[in-house]
Amino acid sequence: MAQAVAHAPAHGTNTGIENRKLLMWLFLGSECLFFGSLIATYMVFKFDVIARGVGPFPHDVMINGVLHHGILDIPTTSASTFVLLMSSLTMVFAVYGAQHARPTLMKLSLLATIVLGLVFLGFQVYEFVTFVHEGLTLSTNLFGATFFLLTGFHGTHVGVGVLYLISMLAASMRRNGLGADAGAHVEIAGLYWHFVDIVWIVIFPLLYLMP
């Protein structure tokens, strides 16, 4: 960036942390509050949904002696959880490749991450479509509203991440690749991608596994 040149020579940053990396971590801190608020909305209404008795419910629940089957498909979502986890692993290798001057490793790992991200999104689309068919929409009950909003915004983040990585892969195909700064570029994209993964690490047990 320009400031390295705009400044007097031999003058990096005061903290020793590269500007873009500091910006990304601050932004991820902001994102903690964003998903924190969405999760809070989910938690606030979690027990109200059962109290009101209007299904479909997330988990099996007994109301007035009638068993209502939970709508969440835990085995399928476990598979998509695994896919997203693996995409974090491939992302690590993309960063490793970029920082150790191994462009082929970087490109293949980026490609793998993109594919895994798209597979995750595919699972999500399948899940949403299935739920709508089973009668859970935004307006059915507060579980529907909080579920679609929380996982939908997570999915949007995955989608933005996929676009980000596709742009990076495309740029790396140019003659100069990502330039001398490739390591930093891919590392910062990786920070975003891993963050999206840790959000899912929180959402999965909270939404799917907790009774």
Binding site: T13, G29, C32, L33, S37, V44, M86, S88, Y96
Partner: protein
Amino acid sequence: MAHQTQHAAVAQHGLTPRQYIMLGVALTVITVIELAASYIPALTPVLVPILLALTAIKFAAVVGYFMHLRFEDGLLAKVFTSSLILAILILVALAALFWGDYAPGVRAARGDAPASAPAAPKAH
């Protein structure tokens, strides 16, 4: 002050590819444990703390090693951790407020008041 060279050295520091793969396997194993725990009826009373603990471990592993935070300047860890703690505190505060005394839905669940009770009962 600036230590570009030292910074570069820190940035290169991290796990070896082999260790990354081991960590990926470990994270998968933890996820399987989470899943298994949720299917074992005997664990139901302690399921929430188990899941929270395992989630925290996975979270810390990805942030610390995949995102290199353990090898970075401590400032980044402070910035991110304090944001995270604030988010958790607000989440807990909201849950406590709504599961506490005044949320109409919870009162309804306990049978104190109808679910459609006025939201802001001023006469207390």
